[in-house]
């Protein structure tokens, strides 16, 4: 067997039984954008634009490095972007332009 096969046979989210440290009991209240992101996820599923299983698959597809570095809702929104591109609902250019616009708006309003 090729040495790299384990990289594709076991998805990065599939961690039941692997070595891990102590449980960190710290909790945080969701930031407003995180809660909006959760609501967005629910609506995308209700309307079957991106169902919950597609969201999970989209997060897995980000790969171990990205999953290990991004926060929970950061992973979700990046996965949503990718899936919306794949489905032809958004284009990368559209999203980039809109992000520039949102950033400029926030800067102009003196709030981020």
């Amino acid at each position: 067997m090729n040495d790299s096969a384990h990289l594709v046979k076991k998805l990065p989210n599939d961690i039941g039984g692997v070595e891990a440290g102590p449980i960190v009991m710290a909790e945080h209240t969701l930031l407003p954008w995180e809660k909006r992101c959760h609501a967005l996820a629910d609506l995308l599923d209700f309307k079957k634009i991106i169902n919950t299983e597609e969201k999970r698959r989209g997060v897995e597809a980000l790969g171990a490095t990205v999953i290990g570095s991004l926060s929970y809702y950061e992973r979700w929104i990046v996965a949503f972007g990718n899936i919306l591109f794949q489905k032809g609902i958004l284009t990368p250019e559209e999203l980039a332009r809109k992000m520039d616009e949102v950033e400029a708006r926030h800067a102009g309003a003196g709030e981020v």
């Binding site: 039941g16 930031l31 809702y73 929104i77 981020v112």
Partner: protein
């Protein structure tokens, strides 16, 4: 050790990195941009987002606690809840907006239940709200299925060896809610007072219901 595990190990130096976002940055802007683009295309309306946030805000462990307290005082309800968890909660007006089913796992003198989602973060959101960070992070997800007794000990819970531990790993449309044991010394208590003994963590199964002494 795979590259993925290395990355998670690295993450332990920054316990909040996995969950907590940096203040107002790139990803928040991305979220706003995606949402606004979908609204411009008529796919999702701002009012729908606001409504769903209200839905999320209305789901807290207090709902689950009321379900448990009702089950403690009403044997008929308890039987219906165990037969069909979703229908039991729906009797109390709790809707299952995510279209999941619910299995209620009753703790007894012989069996202690614990819930986990090793693959992601499946959780009985309609009745408990959103899960705590630790439930979504690697240590709990990785270890609950291989050393549940050690995991419980980290929550201060010791289960005698003659009590069977059942770990339920969520993977599909089914969610779980643990029905903790009613503490002794609560005979005659009102449903409202009983509900105060039922914490979120007790309904995940990592701790027992609060003892009556500690709330009086």
């Amino acid at each position: 050790m795979s590259a993925h595990e290395h990355n998670h190990e690295h993450g332990h130096d920054h316990p909040h990195a996995e969950i907590t976002a940096e203040a107002a940055g790139y990803y928040e802007i991305m979220e706003t941009a995606v949402r606004e683009l979908l609204a411009e295309k008529g796919l999702i309306g701002p009012a729908e987002i606001r409504r769903q946030i209200e839905v999320l805000d209305s789901r807290t462990p207090a709902l689950g606690a009321k379900v448990v307290a009702r089950a403690w005082v009403d044997p008929g309800f308890r039987a219906r809840l165990i037969a069909d968890g979703r229908a039991g909660c729906e009797e109390l007006g709790i809707s299952f907006y995510d279209d999941t089913q619910l299995i209620v796992l009753e703790n007894t003198q012989e069996v202690h239940n614990l819930i986990v989602c090793t693959l992601c973060s499946c959780y009985p959101r309609p009745v408990l709200g959103l899960p705590p960070d630790w439930y979504k992070e690697k240590p709990y997800r990785a270890r609950a299925v291989i050393e549940p007794r050690a995991v419980l000990a980290e929550f201060g819970t010791t289960i005698p060896d003659d009590v069977e531990i059942r770990v339920s790993d969520s993977t599909a449309m089914v969610r779980y809610l643990v029905l903790p044991r009613r503490p002794e010394g609560t005979e005659g208590w009102s449903e409202e007072s009983l509900a105060e003994l039922v914490t979120r963590d007790a309904m995940i199964g990592v701790v027992p219901a609060t003892l009556p002494e500690s709330v009086q």
